[in-house]
Symmetry: C2
Subunit: 275 residues, 2 copies
């Protein structure tokens, strides 16, 4: 069997390395519209060969691992596929991508979301352990073929992933709060410090707390501006909920209501009782 | 020589362990108004004995390692001290503490700020490596005695710390941006998720990015509400600067100005060019 990966950045490149370890595939082909990334992926050994879209279509299983707008773009050009091909989407948002799947390849299509992104991007960031032990979200997608769903699941388990089933609507809502909003916050915090008069002197004081908060401000602007576009409504809702908390805490600090501030901080502590 | 530590939580307790390693002191005494913490510190071996304030005053060097309001409280009761005693304040804010030092012990007093706090608190969180390799901020404080400044510095170097000198005013401003604001943001993000209809399902998706952002939401509400009280103005300024970034990014998402959002994210990436 042959696997194909479209998009050879952190996710696609790491997938190439991890799929090779499973020994399930005779060869692993890749495609990246960024010529430099395609060549890097090849020379780093992330994939065995670089193919064109028309050739990669012949693979038994094809993974869509580009930023989310690129996934929609690919869906517009990849149809038709053979009845037994499995097409796995690894995008961070789901609603808009699902609306973009051409009817004739709905049976081939298996949406999935690996919860293992890190702040580094591009082929050089790839490493074979990225998926091992991480969570893969799968969806109750009635249009997907039973074979395709079973095959994709088999591959994810071979990668050492844990599987969690979720409703598409819930996923996009939850992902806004757990992933998309935190990225916006991290970008905002980084920009706040950079806009100060003397960011270097401020950053000289940075310890573990700050570093943890701005780590994901290093993430790909292409990926995250496209996520914002595709999950616009949920993201706006989550930003507004977050703004209310910031405004409330600011009011308490302004009014010197230290007791309410204390209780709000204590309530936040309870997050760590849950996970 | 004998060292005394007032406040036996993460900082004070870890200091007890680390001071013992330096072999500079014959014994290390502790004090904590929380009786349970005092007993835990003793049974965990963080200090050699528990003393009253009047006894601990006799130590050669005394460290103030309580939350910042407790430091001011102690300053009101610890005076007078022998001319050769060194009194080191380890609080996270400086302006208000400095205003609270009684004139007769200004020479004894050395303000310092270790940039190595973590999210866990209390004596059980203490560990002897906390200070090793971390940054200790020292201040151009003209009132401190030369001997006291030199002695405190000697101890910090023996703990394996790096020394950075800073102006008090700059410190409180910079600390608001690099430490106090990030804590407020982390508490806010934790509270946003906890207030959702089904926080457990949302948290099931949590991966490294989110975990890094809410780690410090586990921090002590006593410590951080008191920091907010003592650094109120700088913190309010930093919250407002942060709110502007959040509001701006929300507007772009609402207006579908993906290009501006992209550029803003790309600008945030530059933080990692500096540190």
């Amino acid at each position: 069997m042959q696997a194909g990966i479209i998009g050879l950045g952190l996710i696609g490149g790491s997938l190439g390395l991890a799929l090779r370890e499973t020994k399930m595939f005779k060869s692993i082909a890749g495609l990246d519209t960024n010529e430099l990334h395609a060549q890097q992926a090849l020379s780093l050994g992330l994939v065995d060969e670089i193919l064109e879209l028309q050739e990669i279509k012949e693979c038994d299983i094809i993974f869509l691992a580009t930023p989310v707008e690129g996934i929609i773009e690919t869906l517009n050009h990849i149809s038709p596929l053979s009845a037994h091909t499995t097409l796995v989407d690894l995008g961070s948002t789901k609603q808009r991508i699902l609306e973009s799947v051409p009817k004739e390849i709905q049976k081939n299509f298996v949406p999935a979301h690996p919860m293992c992104g890190i702040e580094n991007s591009g082929p050089k960031a790839a490493f074979k352990e990225l998926f091992n032990g991480s969570l893969m979200i799968l969806f109750d997608c009635q249009e997907s073929g039973d074979f395709q769903k079973a095959f994709a699941k088999e591959v994810f388990l071979a990668l050492g992933m844990k599987i969690l089933k979720m409703d598409i609507f819930d996923h996009d809502h939850h992902a806004a709060y757990i992933s998309h909003l935190p990225h916006i916050i991290s970008f905002a915090l980084a920009n706040v410090v950079l806009r100060q008069e003397d960011p270097k002197s401020i950053l000289a004081l940075a310890a573990g707390g700050f570093k943890g908060m701005v780590r994901i401000a290093k993430s790909s602007p292409v990926m995250w501006s496209e996520v914002a576009k595709q999950n616009q409504e949920n993201l706006l809702e989550s930003i507004e909920a977050f703004q209310k908390e910031m405004q409330q805490s600011k009011e308490w600090i302004k009014q010197e209501d230290w007791h309410s501030l204390y209780e709000w901080m204590e309530n936040a502590n309870h997050l760590h009782d849950i996970f």
